[in-house]
Subunit: 351 residues, 2 copies
């Protein structure tokens, strides 16, 4: 069976409607038994030798021509590789545009490339399992475009890795009752509180003891973000006040300090306990509930703080998510926007 | 017992020599029973209340003064925290300078802060277990300064994470016999070889099949670095030759392409098989021996390619190493230098 191009569409007749459309979810119906195919659908049918050619052109040339271009930026090849992967996983899927999306309940978002139906379901059944956006390994993904949908990242070996993004809820239960302000001293890039308020560390999990407990020293060492938030809350008093802490923070880590502090304070407001994420390469690891210092449990999330307008390298998404999953935590990224904060959770997905 | 400052040194007498130096590895002997203490040693003895004061100054003020400064960059506090951590782990350790290093066999490297002796051994026994360099969480570590010794990175909660660096050997056994050049086509940001030479994928593990094997399509898809190396080796022929491949590579990933290709080619020269490290957030994952495509085993190393003159953020060292260890691989970083390549392996260490 051969297909041909007609009015800018790839058309195939014969028993195409039953064989390809009805039975296997390819294309959209035209008149009679004829259907129109998207470029990726035609490529796949050529690969499988279900059709022999498109206007006399076989799979090899069809693929080469369709992707064309000398700038290396053509998305057709990437979309084909994702379509191929989804098909091999047993899904029916369609390009996310008219007329394939007629009657389908989906977000309509412009960044979506494919609609993937639940296994065993097809285009006509109405439900969508994943709205997939195809990303090449070296494209930059603006963080602001994340939050819904599924990313399909194609690496240089044509393997496809899928990531789901969503909006996380924060449900923390840790609060700290501020009574009076206790003195603390700024020391290099941290702070020391020699006589910490009761429960500061043991119940609200601020800071770390200086030295081991049996030294008999009660001093608590605090990070600069912890210190700033506690000074703002009236729990600590340092020479030079809040401004001195912020100034020290900026001296140490530049403008990262301000956004890290903004995220830290927002998490504490929600009753969440953020601690350093250094060992995991993140800004914070977070605990939704801390009963006591002896009953810590494991942090549930890793938070990476991004600058406004940040664009992800896909490889770094892979790295961060892989690390998080390896330590059984969820990755959340956060960035300042319009005076507030945006939060997105990113997880690896095996469709 | 009190210490005092004399001629710029912190001196303590009484039975200090036996109690602190001989029994517990602090300080260096002066006349009689007197010893001189380094600042970190005095701070530790103050913390432990082994000495009560230095010129009337107690631990709190001693620590605050010693670290001083408003720029947040003072290393004394960081060094103290590492010294404290090493002592808590049960090691004797000394500042890496005269006169502590007299008679000790060590590298003499200027970047070393502490010499750590094997457990149960002390300064007088001659052997050194670790040469430790203290790094604050936000210092930049030039890659060129890695290769020997141990890093002790202090995070914002005063936890210390240790990393060992060394020079990896590459012992690969995979070769590919080039007979004649086979045609390949550049396609977007990869290449396709419709009739690959025998063994290209199955034995030398180049590329990936296009589609699943049962499609009956023999085409191999290759990354641009693989393609460039194969064209240079005379195994593949593309329109425009080697230059066209390199130009496409640079169009896709800028100057990263050249150094990635340099590393790829060097690894292949050593009989090692590099594949994409995308899923692990690295440039390559490497296999020292690949028997056949069905007996792949697990890659042993992850390679990250750096630009010349690169400086690490400690947090990214933590991230990369943590990820690598979580998937049971060793992290190696590589960068171009003087026309060749430098290689450094980095591993987490628990002293």
């Amino acid at each position: 069976m051969d297909a041909h191009v007609e009015d800018g569409r790839i058309v195939v007749g014969g028993d195409a409607r039953q064989r390809f459309h009805d039975a296997r979810g390819y294309g959209t119906p035209l008149d009679g038994n004829r259907i129109a195919l998207a470029w990726v659908e035609a490529a796949h049918l050529l690969l499988r030798e279900d059709i022999a050619s498109v206007d006399g052109v076989g799979f090899e040339t069809f693929l080469e021509r369709g992707a064309g271009g000398v700038d290396g930026g053509d998305r057709a090849a990437l979309c084909f590789l994702v379509y191929l992967d989804l098909r091999e996983r047993g899904f029916y899927c369609s390009p996310a545009r008219e007329p394939w999306v007629d009657g389908v309940d989906w977000s309509g978002a412009e960044s979506v490339d494919f609609l993937v139906y639940p296994r065993g379901k097809g285009p006509g059944d109405g439900a969508v399992a994943y709205e997939v956006r195809v990303v090449g390994e070296r494209e930059s993904i603006p963080a602001a475009e994340l939050g819904t949908g599924t990313l399909a990242i194609v690496d240089e070996e044509s393997e496809v890795t899928y990531f789901e993004t969503g909006r996380p809820d924060w449900d923390g239960q840790t609060t700290f009752e501020v009574t009076t302000a206790v003195d603390a001293t700024l020391l290099s890039d941290r702070a020391l509180c020699w006589e910490p308020p009761e429960g500061l560390h043991e119940r609200a999990f601020y800071g770390q003891p200086l030295g081991s407990r049996d030294e008999g020293v009660d001093a608590i060492q605090l990070s600069l973000v912890e210190t700033a938030q506690l000074v703002a809350a009236g729990a600590l008093s340092v020479e030079g006040g809040y401004d001195a802490v912020v100034e020290r923070g900026r001296a140490v880590e530049g403008e990262r300090f301000d956004r890290r502090l903004q995220v830290y304070a927002a998490l504490r407001e929600r009753g969440v306990v953020p601690k350093t994420g250094f060992k995991f390469g993140a800004d914070f690891r977070t605990y939704a509930a801390v009963e006591s210092i002896d009953d810590l449990g494991h942090s549930e999330r890793l938070v990476r703080v991004l600058p406004e307008g940040f664009g992800f390298a896909p490889r770094d998404v892979a790295l961060d998510v892989r690390l998080a999953h390896g330590v059984r935590k969820q990755l959340v990224v956060a960035w300042p926007e319009d005076g507030g904060l945006e939060w997105v959770a990113i997880e690896r997905l095996t469709p």
